[in-house]
């Protein structure tokens, strides 16, 4: 506002430099257009449109029969479930039960950041051999993928799914150099690709987290032992510091950013910048717009309702879970599926399990 007031009201920049504008217009017109490309690309696009049309026609048949089969199966299952558990279903309606106790096992030296679940809760991604990104479907509709990450000398450490489920942010560390990459997963229509979002010497990037519309990524940046949370736009060159801390996690509606600072879980209301401390813990994850869970020092999962004052916090019961120490719990977007990352003692490993409501 202040800047605007320094200029005459209702100014129109078009009136102030008419000669320059004419010059720019002339220059624009003088830039040649590649009409040969225009006609060749049009043919290519028409061909692609025909292919897409053909694919579209095939898909409904398969999906509708699949859907029907699924509906029947779901109907039978739900009927059985309703009959069997109906009498005491009322008290377990919000209960979280482990349904895949050992989905995956990673070497014990792996970090809890090396694995993440997609927002739809249909697949997980993890890094193995320091440079291969794997996806593991949680249902039979998808195929597992292996994506070779850019061949550098660094080690890939952190994984984070974008909210649209087609992109994954990965962090690479090469001695003193930290890089943040965005990997576009291959699809039926396109080959996968990787692009470098950011690199910096003498720092350590960790724990990337995508914003609501995937237009920016928050991550922790450690320099000289100081941990800070930064945000980089994925569509422009903008970047800015948000707070001191680590493990940032955007709330699904983008209203809050949860993070860890001095061993405490904190949430920042983005509109006002107000920070609320929730309690001791790490690895915050949102199960709803105002429901946040995190793991405490005893390896228990704790849930906070952040839209009530004072913030209500309670321990979350996880049925059928082993006694392994829980490190991190990550929710799918609708708070139905929960990815659990635990430390197994015998044999020593990082065990990934899947729970759901």
């Amino acid at each position: 506002m202040r800047e605007e007031n320094q200029n005459p009201r209702g100014y129109d920049e078009d009136q102030t430099v008419p000669m320059l504008l004419t010059h720019l217009k002339q220059l624009r017109r003088s830039v040649p257009v590649n009409y040969q490309l225009k006609s060749e690309l049009k043919k290519q696009l028409m061909q692609r449109m025909r292919e897409l049309e053909a694919q579209k026609k095939k898909i409904p048949d398969v999906s509708s029969s699949k859907r029907r089969r699924k509906l029947i199966q779901a109907g039978v299952v739900s009927l059985v479930v309703a009959l069997a558990f109906g009498s005491f279903g009322w008290w377990t309606k919000d209960a979280i039960s482990v349904r895949e106790p050992k989905l995956l096992s990673l070497p014990v030296q792996s970090s809890a950041e090396q694995v993440d679940m997609d927002p739809a809760g249909t697949q997980i991604a993890y890094i193995s051999q320091s440079s291969v990104l794997h996806t593991l479907p949680l249902n039979s509709d998808q195929k597992p993928l292996s994506v070779k990450l850019p061949p550098t000398e660094g080690k890939y450490l952190s994984v984070s799914w974008g909210n649209h489920g087609t992109q994954i942010a990965v962090v690479e560390q090469q001695k003193q150099l930290s890089r943040l990459w965005i990997v576009d997963l291959p699809t039926t229509y396109s080959m996968g690709s990787s692009r470098l979002l950011k690199e910096e010497e003498g720092v350590l990037y960790q724990a990337p987290s995508w914003s609501q519309n995937d237009d920016s990524i928050a991550y922790s940046r450690t320099k000289n032992g100081v941990q800070e949370i930064w945000v980089s736009s994925t569509i422009s060159f903008q970047e800015w510091k948000i707070a001191e801390g680590s493990q940032p996690e955007w709330s699904p509606d983008g209203r809050f950013l949860a993070f860890v600072d001095e061993g405490e879980i904190r949430i920042m209301e983005m509109r006002t910048g107000k920070i609320t401390i929730l309690g001791k813990g790490e690895w915050p994850s949102w199960s709803g717009d105002a429901r946040l869970t995190y793991t405490n020092s005893e390896g228990k999962l704790v849930e906070s309702m952040v839209d009530v004052q004072p913030v209500a916090t309670s321990e979350v019961a996880l049925f059928n879970r082993s006694s392994d120490r829980l490190i991190r719990a990550n929710w799918s977007a609708k708070g139905k599926q929960l990815l659990l990352i635990s430390h197994e003692e015998q044999p020593k490993a990082l065990v990934i399990s899947l729970a759901s409501r």
């Binding site: 100014y11 920049e13 430099v17 003088s30 490309l37 692009r195 569509i235």
Partner: protein, 187 residues
């Protein structure tokens, strides 16, 4: 709204109830190819890269066309894709030095229109040198406004900024550019 109605390249329907773009992809391609290709040829150092990027932009646009809402201008949508493709390209190529020989106008082109040849490659080179002295925001805004021929509101949509900030950035960028022309600097 009124201004939009007067422009030649406009959507099929724009009434008091709002904007609706009803044309099929091929028609929009025919109309917007030139603007996108010109814009990228202005922004990227060599025209082969610009043409590759133009291809990427329209292939991407076709893949995502179902996501285009049709209630906002196609120009904003396609130039958002073009701008993002350009930003990605710059990130990937940021360590590659500029090859002055492959500058925008250095390549002979059959489509070059004779009546405009008076504007030499040197003038274009000079403009680009001067634009490089502006801030990234100013460069983006001026390029989208005057080389992609977008309206203020459309530039605002592409860059995710408010119209007033686009006006301000554009005003300042033009003033700075004007001064450079007056002083004759490019370094």
């Amino acid at each position: 709204m009124g201004m939009a109605m007067n422009r030649s390249a406009q959507p099929s329907v724009q009434s008091n109830e709002g904007y609706y773009e009803s044309r099929p992809f091929t028609e929009l391609y025919d109309e917007y190819f030139d603007r996108v290709n010109r814009y990228l040829r202005c922004r990227v150092q060599n025209s082969w890269d610009a043409d590759d990027l133009t291809t990427v932009v329209f292939l991407k646009a076709l893949e995502k066309f179902e996501q285009y809402s049709r209630t906002s201008p196609f120009a904003s949508w396609i130039f958002r894709i073009a701008h993002n493709a350009y930003v990605d390209f710059m990130r990937k190529n940021r360590e590659i030095p500029v090859d002055q020989e492959e500058f925008l106008g250095a390549e002979p082109d059959d489509t070059w229109q004779p009546e405009r040849q008076a504007l030499t490659n040197e003038e274009i080179r000079l403009l680009r040198d001067r634009l490089d002295l502006l801030s990234q925001d100013q460069k983006d805004v001026l390029m989208l406004r005057y080389f992609a021929d977008l309206k203020i509101s459309q530039v605002a949509e592409v860059l995710d900024k408010t119209e007033s900030s686009i006006k301000m950035i554009s005003y300042r960028g033009l003033q700075k550019l004007q001064k450079m022309y007056e002083r004759g600097d490019s370094e």
